[in-house]
Symmetry: C4
Subunit: 197 residues, 4 copies
């Protein structure tokens, strides 16, 4: 019951986040290719952020499948994740305004990807802690599924590397950020597999 | 369970898409008919896109009734559909700015209708593939319902025809686009019928 | 199942409609009463429309309780209702821009209240028709509850009277519109009572 | 059933409220720290309001767990709460425009926190009243949980103190407002405990 409402609220917030980003694509006043062309960097930024948010929704969806009870820590860890995700439309809009070649917007965009990743890790920890507490430290469905969360920690590392390297080469930073997206575009087979069996 | 949340998220996104389009109708500063009149093309564009999005919601609703399980391919095929639908407010706003008589906004609007149609077809394929895989290739509830998807492929063809013809006659393009709406305004009786029996 | 999703989608759309109206209250650049005062008509318009939309949600909520199955006619009647409700933020914003003393924005606002009322009546008819069809013409839960829908038809009449009278006296028009709100602020005891028994 | 839909609608509205606030963070046209810096007060205001709205959602969530039936009074008490919450994006935006040092925006922000607190208290009363009425005055699950609502009434008092003191010292006002947030950031253990046992 409780989990259902947490999912419903998260769905609502994520649905709004993913959709309001399109409001940055302001329709031009002229009906020509020339008028459309300046929107290209905004469009690319939108597509990219849509994919990142979609990845978060998919993984959140898988994650919640392992949750039986929701306590205060999980509620707030989830809110914390939603908070950082809610900043992505801002960093996306900034990137769309400036283009992907300047250092600061690239770094800030990277940070707006890193922070939800950290929040996601905290959410995973909170769920495992609740499951262990509830079973007297014996069992956590999610811990069994996740094991040592290589993919999660790797993402944090790659984001950090990308943010750091942005001062030297913006292109390299984007390559790092893209790597994380590719890692996660593959749905988390570990969760799927364990839940199926 | 999983299907429920996919529906809930899609409902959220589609509800936002269909509603934010009305934000393009900016209230005039004067309280006269003269001040209201320039909004006419924006209003017509809004009505039209509302109907198209409503058709997608209705069909998505019918489609999801045939789904028992959701795998990664279905999740992403659904996200892909939502992505293209999320661009309709932009192409609608552009059309509302320019009016329906210029070629490029008409073509782009047509493309913003064609792309979700393609995405919908991919979603149908993904669901059928999952159902066949799950039953060892024996059975797919959705395939039985849809059969050879004449209506879906006809829509793709008519949209393509409309987009192509827009360079010659914008009116003819609109006639093509309207034809698809009319085809789909009739709810998909095949799905309804099969599910009832 | 079907009803649940219709409710969820309607909830989403109505939640967005009721909330985006607040975006018209643009925060002033100065921190003084003088800067705040021009927002007064916008604020009053917002409160008023919030109440009307809330009434619709409440009644929609009661109405849906009597629905067991959803057919195409009900789906589209519901979409039709949502369409007219989605225009209320626009007519509210216009009213907020102009103030309640000019004829045309008052009439258009009245029409934006009348149209959902008509759409609601059509939705009621669609539900009754489905229930009669399903029971071979014998029974409709909703018809038993609603009987001769005095309140519904009275609302339509009062709205029409208000819209007509606006050309003569805007104040009288507002009195008419307010009357309908008062009628409906009392929750529909007939539905509540019948469902309880 | 009814409770579920009340929760779903409230979730939708609260999700939109919490998310549209981020639209006030308009992306700068330059990619520099200098361009980003003026957004600092808006960002701080956003974080603060996000936390307050999140607290309301969490408490609403706990509160609804004690509700078995929804009557008209509860429906409207809930709408009343959502109305005041819907003004928080406006008072947040004003605060973000002006900064936290001016008296009037601080007082109005305090009022926009006080009013939902009052509305929440009314909602609690409505639920208890319904539970007592339904059990013939014998029993109310929520009253057993809440007892004398020290925390609720304390919040009202502290908000009032903060609003009053703002004319003398804005800093002291913020200290008062922050105190309420801290009180409520601790989830309502009384409800959680009672529901668990």
């Amino acid at each position: 019951m409780t989990r259902t409402r947490l999912e419903a609220f998260s769905d609502g917030v994520i649905a709004i986040i993913i959709t309001i980003m399109v409001l940055e694509l302001r329709a031009p006043e002229a009906g020509t290719w020339e008028a459309l062309r300046p929107l290209a960097p905004k469009f690319i930024a939108y597509v990219m952020s849509f994919v990142y948010i979609a990845i978060y929704w998919n993984n959140h969806h898988h994650l919640m499948h392992t949750v039986d009870r929701v306590d205060g820590a999980i509620l707030w860890a989830n809110m914390h994740l939603l908070f950082w995700l809610s900043l992505v439309p801002f960093t996306t809009a900034w990137l769309g305004n400036i283009g992907p070649e300047e250092t600061l917007p690239t770094m800030i965009y990277g940070i707006s990807l890193l922070m939800p990743a950290i929040a996601y890790t905290i959410l995973v920890r909170s769920i495992i802690a609740e499951q262990l507490a509830h079973s007297g430290g014996l069992h956590s469905k999610l811990r069994d599924v996740v094991g040592v969360d290589v993919k999660g920690y790797a993402s944090l590392g790659i984001y950090l590397a990308g943010i750091s390297v942005a001062t030297v080469s913006v292109r390299l930073a984007w390559a790092f950020f893209a790597t994380v997206a590719i890692i996660w575009l593959v749905p988390d087979r570990r969760v799927t597999r364990t839940l199926k069996s």
